[in-house]
Symmetry: C2
Subunit: 571 residues, 2 copies
């Protein structure tokens, strides 16, 4: 008898081996026993893969179907339910329903998703090449030298102590153990491989990423050529004789002469490149996807605002703003060049573990104890910030709802009652009361208008705050992984020290681990510092914008009431 399970939350496969499933779907499981929170099974079409154990409810063997635990509660409680608590475990996001009780929050995005499946933008069209380089044989290593003879110095960097190439990948792990959890961010990000000295790649001067010592600790070297980029004119385009349609946006960077036209799927592709490229950088999340109604004006406007926020965070980031793939995305206007650049980015060797090869650190190594304390402090901070932004988001979402519903209704009811009174008064047959009747009627109209003001206001002040919070909730969702990589590196340092003490590792090898942990720590602290800087900048700007809008709003109400008051002046 087959073991069946019912899917209780939608799950989108984000890594090879995972199985995308939809709520309500029935799966056939290989075993009831989960492995590190994952169950193996196959769907009705026979496709096999892993699904998170918390996303399904085991129904039992065929015969027992429908008679065994049909509640929506996940059967397993040994799988973390979200937030920092799961940091040391798996990085897979929990079902949204478990972490957040607020409705419109941006869905948790995962740093490491590859091409999105079920995206609202189709990918398979002639402008883009849907095949990825990873599928093509014989393209590993040394590409840049071959394809680009542009004279920049390119050199091979390796972290192998006295060894070259990838052949020794499993060897050094015999000394300092590899993490057996293949879903660990530390492993997936390449952090582990880098610390253990397994990363290797050619780094051009242009790829170098500098961490410098600033007044508050390590920070990314500022982009010497800062720029910004506007996103305008969302335009509906069609192709295949109208069979397919999509929205394109005009992107106008300040540092290039020509605007470019990009679709959401291009952003999405870029996001995927950046996420795999920069393990300890919090790549801003794209505005959430929406399966239906994506050509509706509200949605387009909302998405555009989200993309503007996203772009703002991209261009503000000293590392992200400079990177090749982003520049290609912003500047390429030629179709052929686009394809070439796309292919190049997808073949990029300096992703994951190799990314760390590109980082240059300040001369003095960091005090790891101090680093650990700073990271722990930041962890506490992000937890608090996560809680309070969640609360603020819920509160202002409710506030917006109330203003658009109850508040509007109350003011309009008052308006209508005044108008009813003025209508009753108009029956008094007295000429001397017509001025009063008009005044009361105008007052009624004024309150109806004020009700409308309340209805319109949230889109002007609360919505931008919610957009801000959504963006930051994205960052806060990224940081557990960022921190996890640094923590993993630090654990390796401690392990190596122990091994040296026990004579199981030579000091040179341990020093190498130390140095590489220093690189990861510098990058992590620089990223944290950057986060604080943009956070202060963004929240200041948004609080000011919010208060300015609120002031304008109450002044508008006051003006309307003053207008009404004047009507009584010459009665």
């Amino acid at each position: 008898m087959a073991l069946r399970a019912k899917v209780i939350y939608d799950f989108l496969s984000e890594n090879q081996g995972e199985l995308s499933v939809q709520e309500g779907e029935i799966l056939t499981l290989v075993s009831e026993q989960d492995v590190e929170g994952w169950l193996e099974g196959s769907n009705s079409r026979g496709v096999r893969g892993l699904v998170p154990a918390t996303y399904v409810e085991i129904l039992g063997h065929d015969a027992a179907l429908n008679s065994y635990n049909t509640s929506a509660e996940p059967r397993y409680s040994n799988v973390p339910a979200g937030g920092f608590a799961q940091l040391e475990n798996i990085s897979k996001p929990p079902p949204v329903g478990l972490t957040s009780n607020t409705a419109p929050l941006q869905q948790h995005h995962n740093n490491y998703k590859q091409h999105s499946q079920g995206s609202d933008d189709d990918w398979d069209d002639d402008w883009d090449d849907s095949s990825t380089v990873a599928d093509e044989p014989g393209t590993v290593g040394g590409r840049y030298r071959d394809s680009e003879g542009n004279g920049t110095s390119t050199y091979r960097v390796t972290t192998h102590t006295g060894q070259r190439g990838n052949a020794m990948q499993t060897k050094s792990s015999a000394t300092v153990g590899k993490n057996l959890n293949r879903f660990s961010t530390f492993v997936k990000s390449g952090g582990e491989a880098f610390v253990l000295g397994e990363a290797s790649g050619f780094v051009k001067d242009g790829d170098k990423i500098c961490v410098v010592m600033g007044p508050y600790g390590p920070e990314w070297q500022e982009n010497p050529y800062p720029f910004s980029c506007t996103i305008d004119d969302p335009t509906k385009q069609t192709k295949f004789k109208g069979m397919k349609s999509y929205i394109s946006y005009k992107l106008t960077p300040t540092h290039t002469p020509n605007p470019v036209s990009r679709r959401y799927k291009h952003f999405d592709w870029l996001y995927a490149r950046l996420a795999e490229r920069f393990p300890v950088i919090s790549v801003p999340h794209l505005p959430e996807k929406q399966a239906t109604g994506r050509f509706e004006e509200d949605f387009i406007s909302k998405r555009r605002k989200g993309l503007i926020w996203w772009m703002n965070h991209m261009t503000s980031h000293p590392v992200l703003s400079k990177c090749d793939v982003f520049q290609h995305f912003l500047t390429c206007t030629d179709e052929k060049a686009w394809k070439q650049g796309k292919r190049k980015a997808e073949k990029d060797e300096l992703v994951g573990a190799n990314f760390f090869l590109t980082i240059s650190t300040p001369p003095a190594p960091l005090d790891f104890q101090e680093v650990e304390s700073k990271i722990d402090g930041f962890k506490t901070f992000t937890k608090r910030m996560e809680d309070s932004t969640m609360q603020l988001n819920a509160t202002i979402n409710e506030f917006a709802r109330k203003q658009m519903g109850g508040f509007k209704k109350e003011y309009q009811k008052v308006g209508m009652s005044f108008k009813a009174l003025s209508q009753a008064f108009e029956m008094d047959q007295q000429t001397y009361s017509s001025g009063l009747n008009h005044g009361i009627s105008f007052t009624g109209d004024a309150y109806e208008a004020i009700g409308e003001y309340f209805y319109e206001q949230p889109s002007k002040d609360l919505d931008p705050i919610m957009d801000l919070l959504a963006l930051y909730q994205g960052h806060l969702a990224n940081f557990p992984d960022v921190i996890h990589v640094q923590k993993g590196a630090l654990t390796k340092v401690k392990e190596s020290q122990k091994h040296v003490e026990e004579g199981k590792m030579d000091r040179a090898q341990a020093n190498g681990i130390n140095d590489r942990c220093n690189i990861i720590s510098c990058a992590t602290l620089a990223e944290i510092q950057h986060f604080h800087h943009i956070r202060v900048r963004d929240f200041k700007a948004q609080m000011q914008h919010y208060l300015q809008q609120q002031i304008t709003f109450y002044k508008k109400i006051t003006g309307k009431l003053e207008e009404a008051l004047e009507k009584y002046d010459n009665l």
Copy 2:
């Protein structure tokens, strides 16, 4: 077996023969059959009297107690439920629950109540004399000439055609029939007796009430010496060594040198005198009584405001403001003189039917058809005004409740969320963010303060509107009776014309009825005109006050927000 009935609404006896009862009380009925909507019965103390049939629920004979119809629905539907519909029937007010679904409306007062029973102010103390003149023998007629030799010309007026004295009271009614409904306002007010020519009394020059022809029809001659009166310093007084306590108010009229001290019961006594004295004048209702907590600050402040409104309407009325008993109330500072004036007022002959003797009309008689159309128009107007004030009252009562509850809560929740965010931000260990944190914290405080503003506001703007509406709802409750008297008179005119055509009445007698109907019509139209004038004045003033308060309110909010915005200026 005794027939029992359960009282379902409180009823306060307002006329001799009626029985005050309380909700839940069990009565023993004489008969299950009501007479014109009244049932006779006795309470548990054996006191016997009439109660409105709709106020009780008949339980059946003792044995059937509790097994017979225990719903709260009145058993009889042949008794009018309120408003104009009952005009031609009885004038007894229906239970409040049946006419009004809004909570804080002033309870319906009856024009013709005598000493209030169950009042919250005790009456039986040494300062006041609780015995009424009606109980004393030998005090009918011609008193003024005997007791007051002050030289004003006093003359006897009678409406009897060619006859003098009261002997003929029943005679003329043989021709134009008397209304058999002893509860009819037309009968109770003395309107019927006057129209039928049965009223008789001595009218001094000072008692004359003039109706003049104004631009909009008949109106009361203006008071040539207008004045106003403030009500201040509600002070708790005790007597009987602290056994009894009461609140006294300082009344300061502008036309006398000395303020007087009055209690609510004095207002109540005055109200009763005025209500029986002026059948076609809408005597403003006193602020509602409250049995418990009458020394609480809120209640005292609310009552004082109500008394101020009442006083304003009294001093604004050309007839009421000048009348002896009101002047006595406003000016008498001597205890002995007070008693004397009180006794005199209670002995006043010119009440009810005789009141109409005091009215002098414009020379040209009114066109009754036009009068009827005006009265009907006013009836429609009052109905519409009653509905719309009821609606407005309900709306703003709810609006006030929302502002003090939901609105306050929403703003304060936003405030608290901002503060929580600033507290989270304070954990960031970054010195450069402390300004922002302070700004957000201040913004949080500002929203909490704004929540408080919303809580406080209704007492400043909506409460006065509700006070205004309560006062006008009192007037609107008076007008059915006022109109009823005029309608009754008009009916008598029509009857008399028919009788003349049929040769049953001589033309002189019919002309007398015509003339007296003209007097009632003039007074009624003058009162309606006065009502419209003060209505326009009061609503204009209150709408202005309301809007001014609202403007101040939103400006205060704006100011608070501007203060918050400034905190972000120098970050």
